[in-house]
Symmetry: C2
Subunit: 410 residues, 2 copies
């Protein structure tokens, strides 16, 4: 039997999906599971997008341009303009989800053995994309005590070496919900300029910024226009994860020409998804206002409920629809599995994502979980009731030092 590649063996399985068999077994036992483990929102896709699909009238489902349908790319520049991002349509390549935008960025800018610095915890699938490209992630730790703010620039400096080619951020962040401030991003820009690095920024949650805090894009930063690649997706914006439409955006002509070669190899992004996405740009403002209001009330309830549980700490995030909570547990993988395998409260349980999957340093995230507030308030309340009972019942509890001394909840 021929051998699987080293790359294939090293490719990490999805840490978010690895608990699925336990969830399936729990469902077979008749348990109701509250899924707070994945970023699949329960919000409806805008009607304008669904109507565009229902009104599809072409007779042949043709390839689009490799860079995406031109009318969609042109309209997308209007969308970006609303966020004060000034781009020409030639500075946009439509990708198959944000995932492909990341893959193309890795391949266009980094070679096997190159290093990329990423603040951890980070979106777990970055591990996979870097393994695919034989790129090494150098993690820099952000901390729950600061709500996962950008680590000090001096800490980045310590990690920059000859092989460092890029820094990658996610803003607002999956999995932490942290929204980087303008000054944090400006300090990062100075560092990027000093060392002439690539700056990749995954900004797929820009619609979800709360508490009147401003969204700053890497596309707003002055003096590093040629260093910046913005990675985007409509998946969360319009609750259209299955459309698989993203974007690779840069002012750097050389990187656009390079990315186009990768885009040409795979021919074109999905035609149906692009049609829905183009229609989506006309989604009324009221849609987003309602969605944001909904997420804010969920977040407010969730963070307050979590912090009222003994030994639990959850900083209040200002963006996206995730939070990371520290729990009084020994091992988040074991705990999340136990929730599905051994626990139930009134025939219900809750599925969470162990935070270990979002850290690159081994041993980090053992007492943390990521919670996606993608369920309605009523379900969230039931889920938190389950979690409270679960923490009471869990046999391998361990209080965090900060909790024992009463600090850490500031």
């Amino acid at each position: 039997m021929p051998h699987i590649s080293t790359k294939g063996r090293e490719m990490p399985p999805s840490p978010i999906r690895k608990l699925v068999p336990y969830a399936e077994a729990a469902k077979q036992k008749g348990l109701k599971i509250y899924h707070l483990n994945i970023g699949q929102p329960d919000i409806q896709t805008p009607e304008v997008m669904l109507n565009a699909i229902r009104n599809y009238s072409d007779k042949i489902v043709e390839y689009s341009h490799s860079a995406g349908i031109e009318s969609y790319r042109k309209k997308l520049t209007e969308y970006y303009n609303r966020y004060s991002i000034q781009v020409d349509f030639s500075e946009i390549i439509i990708t198959t989800g944000g995932s492909e935008a990341i893959e193309i960025a890795m391949m266009s800018c980094l070679d096997p053995g190159d290093e990329i610095i990423i603040p951890e915890p980070f979106y777990a699938n970055y591990n996979g994309f870097c393994t695919q490209a034989n790129v090494k992630i150098v993690p820099i730790q952000s901390s729950i005590e600061t709500g996962f703010a950008l680590p000090p620039i001096s800490e980045f400096e310590k990690l920059i070496g000859l092989k460092t080619k890029a820094i990658m951020i996610c803003n607002p962040s999956n999995p932490t919900g942290y929204l980087y401030s303008k000054s944090e991003l400006e300090s990062l820009a100075a560092l990027v300029k000093k060392h002439d690095l690539w700056l990749f920024s995954d900004e797929v949650y820009r619609e979800f910024c709360y508490d009147a805090k401003p969204y700053t894009s890497v596309m707003h930063l002055k003096g590093i226009e040629n260093n910046v690649v913005m990675l985007d997706s409509i998946s969360k914006r319009y609750s259209a994860c299955g459309a698989r439409i993203g974007a690779f955006v840069s002012h750097n002509k050389e990187v656009m020409n390079t990315a186009l070669k990768f885009a040409q190899a795979r021919l074109s992004p999905p035609t149906f998804g692009q049609i829905a996405a183009e229609a989506g740009i006309d989604t009324p403002e009221s849609y987003f206002n309602e969605v944001k209001e909904e997420y804010v009330s969920r977040r407010d309830y969730l963070v307050s409920a979590l912090n009222s549980m003994e030994g639990v700490f959850c900083p209040k995030p200002s963006g996206a629809f995730y939070c990371i909570a520290r729990l009084p547990i020994d091992n988040s993988d074991a705990f999340c599995q136990w929730l599905l395998e051994e626990f139930s409260f009134e025939n219900q349980t809750v599925m969470l994502a162990p935070a270990t999957g979002f850290y690159s340093h081994p041993g980090l995230g053992l007492d943390e979980v990521r919670i996606a507030y993608v369920l309605n308030l009523n379900d969230l309340k039931n889920a938190m009731t389950c979690l409270k009972h679960a923490l009471d019942a869990y046999p391998n509890k361990r209080m965090h030092k900060a909790e024992l001394s009463g600090s850490g909840k500031a």
Copy 2:
């Protein structure tokens, strides 16, 4: 300004799309262009697929399973059964086009520096996928004189070394239209077994086999079940190139588990395309009969028209909708550009794909072009009239030795 990766610089631009700017300029001058350069069929997508899209009734466009919608995968096993390919749905991962199936095969089975043997001329984008994976293509030359039959196994043997990990074929072939016989495939199977290599087979044109010649899949071959990966796509089958739905198929459980990790990293294939594809399995047999009849009449006309031109030789292919023709020209890149830039007949011209892009050995394909018979008979006739006049007018003609001596048209 940060550096583009070596990989990005080495990534080949699409040889098929590189003439596009000249075509655009010709259109601006008011010329009508017959596009025989790309595999975008003019055949209509089956109504059952378009109706499935028009009847889309979900409220949220959700991620599907990373391996694809289960009901689609199950129904796809019925489709394969019609071709005597026995697979379980767990042996299928739905991909974003055939392109992604190839990318996943490369990454799952080959490491940077590994070698893959591919008979040339081959589908030009294989170059891109191998560059992405840092895999080296070792071409083995097939010849226009044999109609591009499988090269002798002894020639393969000469190329197999320590780094050889795989052989890849396309059957029926893009760009040659050649349909491998059962005995050719059995001899390849023996070689694959002897050296324990991977055998990747791109079989996206299986619907297009002519002259009552049988289609043999690598999935039919005995004794190499664990070596075989079949790469598939609905793009050509249903004239649904823009749906971006393909498949990665293998009996090898280890390679399926590995491929699933790559599939999980990019979350899921396009939902709309999968819905159309699932409906497509109910496309009536009459659709394919009509399409095949249409392609056969186009091929018969085209091959006969080409061979009647002075100094032209075109073997008659038994599959797909391409042929490779040898023309009395110095340089196919220059000739195809000249057709767009300098030539016209009654305000019309023809766009062809230079065969150089389908060869890996430099210097091969200089007197060959690939012609896709994706236009109706009337347009094809006009296109051939243009080509005949163009060959008369082309200033850099060069007769092939075989033509001069009268052979080569057997």
